[in-house]
């Protein structure tokens, strides 16, 4: 019994010793992270620690050399968008992501890779709400596709912003990844990458790469702010929009008919036009909601997927659609949106701007002048349609319009809707 008590007492003494020694050896708690504001960027303690670690492991010269080597490697994956000179990134498969500015597309897009020739854009997926344009060019072999990151970077790791430019030097800007926040950038996108990289209008469209050279995100303009959107979210947004609708290129949404009993999945004539946007190609081609699409360029279409695939064919100037409306079958010619060539704008009256057409001259006493439109205003839309040189000339260029027409114009600092009366 006494021996038992002795063991218990020894164990108790050991336990006390463990607690005392453990308490005395406890590590000092890490400092509470605080934010310190410098002239350019906000740096957290975590980021400073990370930088200190990096500098301890490598000299600053080596760090700079690492970034330069990475920049050399990823430069070929960044192309230049003209006319505004921001960057674009080529995805595996040849699709090119170019940013929208102020939520709009330019009238003309030409892509340039390095010293190579400029490539005019052949097709473009314009997705409402998504701050990107998914574009293709006729020959995409001149562009190197980026390797896409499969996961978000670890907090505190370095990212490198790389962009190319026609009218300005190329830009390489490193920064530390400090986390993700919810983005309210269009209806689809959810997360944006927070970094210490300074973002300005000149970085829109730039690729943001991790130190392994994988594309982590692209700089985009979301409403009034500029953010880095994660590549996975961008792709998801584009895929969602592309698979769900054909609004993108033709202003047309499709729906399936309810198959009659006994019908198989390949029963023809079950693709209906569900919704049309006025003035867009499907509407211009004379289609109406409820029309059934039977074939496209001679190829029968029985499902929405087949229809989307047929209408996504590259390089087609127009599509010949066989359509059934009630008991009548007819053909309709539908042309994809053609982007105007840069020299299409009459230089004496209009000037091409990234987001529209700048008016150089407004005839005094004309309908446009009477509506309050002034020289140097930028026309963004005519009616419901994007402002092309043809449309602007057709409406605002004539002295008197034949019917009331609306236009959205940009005057520095604000956007105005004006009604031009006959």
């Amino acid at each position: 019994m006494q021996a038992r008590h002795r063991y218990l007492a020894i164990l108790a003494a050991v336990a006390v010793a463990i607690l005392v020694v453990g308490f005395l050896l406890r590590p000092t708690p890490p400092p509470t992270p605080t934010r310190r504001v410098s002239a350019d960027v906000t740096v957290t303690h975590a980021e400073l620690d990370n930088l200190r670690d990096l500098v301890q492991r490598n000299s600053l010269r080596n760090v700079a050399a690492d970034f330069s080597a990475l920049a050399d490697r990823v430069f070929s994956q960044v192309t230049t968008v003209r006319p505004w000179g921001t960057g674009a990134v080529v995805l595996p498969g040849g699709n090119i992501l170019a940013p929208k500015l102020m939520g709009r597309l330019p009238q003309t897009i030409v892509l340039t890779s390095g010293e190579g020739p400029p490539h005019p854009l052949t097709t473009a997926n314009w997705i409402p709400g998504v701050p990107f344009l998914a574009a293709t060019v006729q020959d995409s072999s001149d562009f190197s596709p980026a390797t896409l990151a499969r996961a978000f970077p670890i907090q505190g790791s370095w990212l490198l912003l790389v962009t190319d430019g026609v009218n300005r030097p190329a830009l390489v800007s490193p920064g530390v990844f400090s986390g993700l926040t919810d983005a309210h950038c269009g209806p689809f996108l959810r997360r944006q990458l927070q970094t210490t990289i300074p973002l300005t209008a000149t970085t829109i469209g730039a690729g943001v790469f991790d130190l392994s050279g994988n594309l982590q995100g692209i700089v985009a303009q979301c409403d009034d702010s500029i953010s880095i959107l994660g590549i996975a979210d961008i792709q998801r947004a584009l895929a969602d929009a592309d698979s769900a609708t054909l609004l993108v290129r033709y202003g047309m949404r499709l729906s399936s008919t309810v198959s009659p009993p006994g019908a198989t999945a390949t029963t023809p004539n079950n693709v209906l036009v569900g919704e049309l946007w006025t003035g867009w190609p499907a509407d211009t081609a004379g289609l109406q909601a409820g029309d059934a699409l039977l074939s496209i360029n001679g190829q029968n279409v029985a499902t929405i997927d087949q229809t989307v695939a047929a209408l996504s064919a590259q390089g087609a100037a127009s599509f010949r659609l066989r359509v059934r409306r009630a008991q009548r079958i007819f053909f309709a010619e539908m042309k994809p949106i053609q982007l105007a060539a840069p020299d299409a704008a009459p230089q004496n009256a209009l000037e091409l701007e990234p987001n529209g057409m700048r008016l150089l001259h407004v005839a005094s006493g004309s309908s446009a002048a009477a509506a309050g439109i002034r020289p140097d205003d930028i026309v963004l839309r005519v009616g419901d349609l994007p402002a092309t040189s043809e449309r602007v000339n057709g409406v605002l260029g004539s002295y008197r319009v034949s019917a009331p027409v609306s236009a959205v114009i940009w005057r520095p600092g604000r956007e105005l809707l004006v009604w031009i009366q006959p």
Binding site: L8, L11, A12, V14, A15, V16, I18, L19, G22, F23, L25, R26, P27, P29, P30, A46, E47, D49, N50, R150, A151, I154, Q155, G156, S157, G179, L180
Partner: protein, 400 residues
């Protein structure tokens, strides 16, 4: 609502829920949890987040009491009978769950460190809810003994693995910023295990020694609650694991005190209000909205964990040559998932907020499902095994 009103509401609602669920033939604990979900912020909002924060002290005390009772399974005499069996079963079961959940998360393109953390947390078996069902049905027998032991060992294994995995990932720099130095990481592992055991032993020694001096029911109760609170309070102060401290306290008392039975009986007559508050609060913390955001990963977590538990206990039992009854019925009895898992995830997310998006919704969503289904499953197992012994209404309990 102030704290006193919310405690009153919780107690009365839990009583009402306990009555109601009897008609549905489901355990009272499930009723408490559902009542908590209903009055909590995610449905009616009668108990808000502020109330929950101020009532968290009750949860700590209840958890310490629950683990104190589980610790008695380590009484040398009892553990010698089933110790080897439950260690083999638990290790097999934990390995299966870890492998399946980690594999499923990797298959769904999660980062490997996230997959590993999910697998580690999924190993945990909800001690509190399972034990409550065993107590409600006055379960006694071989299977009950194995279940209790398996839960105790499971929680220790889960905590140890979690500490090792997070430390390993931290040292390898895979968790990003937010942790401390390598020394702080290793210290935390050693301190949480050895320091906690030392504290539990010391307070257990105090309880066992003093229990010989007190005879009255009231005095025994004061001693017991005092020691449990001392453990919980010191554990919080010294940053130790309440789980390990309380388990070791229970084990030490069971082995050293000559009055274990009296302590257990005093505890069983006193702690129901604590448990009711504990489970209603636990329910109130669960957010129904999580079910919507579970996604494919959440579903995979639930399915892989359930399969891992069932397969793991089955093969573990075969490996340990246990009876057919244990082999077939232990799996469904260890499905519950709460307490420790919530604590582990929240502690991790507090240190590494960047993991919040990837871990919290999945684990808490899984807990919501298992915490409702788990106790129902335990009840079925106990009834089927014939180990439920109805309490004698109005029966006299005699103090030693």
């Amino acid at each position: 609502m102030n704290e006193l009103s919310s405690i009153a509401l919780i107690l009365l609602l839990s009583l009402l829920a306990g009555h109601l669920v009897k008609f549905l033939h489901i355990p009272e604990v499930t009723g408490y949890i559902i009542a908590g979900i209903v009055v909590g912020p995610s449905v009616l909002g009668w108990i808000n987040d502020q109330n929950l924060a101020s009532l968290s002290i009750f949860s700590e005390v209840a958890l310490a009491l629950i683990l104190f009772s589980i610790g008695s399974i380590f009484e040398f005499r009892r553990f010698r009978e089933v110790g080897k069996l439950i260690v083999i079963i638990t290790i097999t079961e934990c390995t299966c769950v870890l492998a399946l959940v980690t594999g499923a998360a990797l298959y769904l393109h999660q980062r490997w460190e996230i997959a590993l953390l999910l697998g580690t947390v999924a190993m945990e078996t909800g001690a509190a809810s399972t034990l409550m069902v065993l107590r409600e049905y006055n379960a006694e027998g071989r299977l009950t003994q194995v279940i209790t032991g398996a839960i105790a060992i499971n929680n220790l294994v889960c905590l140890t693995c979690f500490l090792l995995v997070t430390s390993g990932l931290q040292i390898a720099g895979r968790l990003g910023m937010g942790g401390g130095s390598i020394y702080a990481t290793l210290y935390s592992v050693v301190w949480q295990m050895i320091g906690s055991a030392a504290l539990g032993y010391l307070v257990g020694l105090l309880l066992a020694g003093w229990s010989t001096r007190v005879i009255e029911h009231g005095e025994t109760l004061i001693l017991l609650i005092g020691c449990v609170l001392l453990c919980a309070g010191l554990a919080l102060f010294l940053n130790l694991s309440i789980l390990v401290v309380s388990l070791v306290l229970g084990a030490t008392t069971a082995n050293l005190s000559a009055h274990t039975g009296r302590l257990a009986m005093v505890q069983s007559r006193t702690d129901p209000p604590f448990y009711a508050v504990f489970f209603v609060i636990a329910g109130a913390h669960l957010q129904l909205g999580l079910l919507k955001s579970l996604g494919l990963l959440g579903l995979a977590y639930i399915v892989a964990r359930a399969i891992g538990k069932l397969i793991g206990t089955y093969f573990g039992s075969r490996l340990a040559n246990s009876s057919k009854q244990v082999r077939r019925q232990l799996g469904p009895a260890v499905l519950a998932h709460a307490g420790l898992a919530i604590g582990l995830v929240l502690s991790l997310v507090r240190r590494y907020p960047q993991l919040d998006a990837e871990l919290t919704a999945v684990v808490l969503g899984g807990i919501l499902v298992f915490e409702i289904l788990g106790p129902i499953s335990v009840r079925k197992v106990i009834l089927r095994a014939g180990e439920s012994h109805a309490r004698v209404a109005g029966g006299m309990e005699v103090l030693e």
